[in-house]
Subunit: 163 residues, 2 copies
């Protein structure tokens, strides 16, 4: 596997899981959370496919492509560990779908981070809601779902909170 192969595998798997998550949460009215904006490609994909719910994007430093930069209403600027609890408090709403692609290039650090952030994400998800991540997460009460067609094992992960 080259870096090109790995990268394509991750992007294709993210897209397949995001599409599945949106389909599975169709009809839910709770907001969608994008954790990590980065270049803005997955944000652009989610924005184009979710029309019936508010979308919030959590990012420390905005460095996205100009054509996929969130609006002021969508952007939640700062450290997720502070901004996510604050938003839940302010809106009183949990999420129908959370997508998280927060990792960097160090697998050990990514795993450590996934461990630390898992309880926060689990608590932010509404019953029946879906969570998609680029790293394996450490949840107590969520069910890992089978990957949708087109996604590759270990390149993306999809979880659901029991309804």
């Amino acid at each position: 596997m080259t870096r090109l192969d790995l990268f394509i595998g991750r992007m294709v798997s993210q897209r397949a899981c995001i599409d599945r998550a949106i389909a599975l949460t169709q009809g839910m009215t709770e907001p969608v959370f994008e954790l990590g904006l980065g270049n803005g490609r997955t944000f652009d994909h989610i924005r184009a496919n979710v029309h019936d719910r508010p979308l919030y994007v959590f990012e420390r430093t905005v460095a996205s492509h100009p054509s996929s930069t969130p609006s002021d209403e969508q952007l939640v600027l700062g450290d997720i560990f502070e901004t996510l609890p604050a938003l839940l408090e302010r809106t009183g709403k949990k999420a129908s779908f959370i997508h998280a692609d927060l990792g960097g290039h160090n697998p050990a650090k990514n795993d450590e981070f996934a461990r630390t952030i898992s309880p926060l994400i689990e608590g932010a998800l509404a019953p029946g809601g879906i969570m998609v991540a680029s790293d394996a997460m450490y949840f107590d009460g969520l069910t890992e779902l089978p990957l949708p067609e087109g996604a590759f094992v270990d390149r993306a992960f999809i979880y659901q909170k029991p309804a």
Copy 2:
């Protein structure tokens, strides 16, 4: 088409065309040229699949991922318009395969650049050699080949110099 769709389409098409180009030039002894290193993903893919020929990477400013940074022997640092003619002169060898991914985010500029660089690339290719590009090129004597399976129209282009 979201930015995620477009990006995946381009990477998948690049990979399919690179793989085809390597297969079609199997047995040729002339070097391979990677024009534009960027993150180094396509460099890593070419490096992993070409073992029988020298590989040269042309880049103005190295900003690749540490795990896919060319060796000093592979790297040709500077503006391609100067360094490519200089390398041809120094080695006396044209290329069996040239991959070019030099564009940025402005389609009009990319097209202008493709027009400007096409004669240089055409002159650097050995008879029977293959050229793969992310933008449509402007060649006089090369034949555009049908895209390999898995590649998408307009996301990559593949050309051959008559033997």
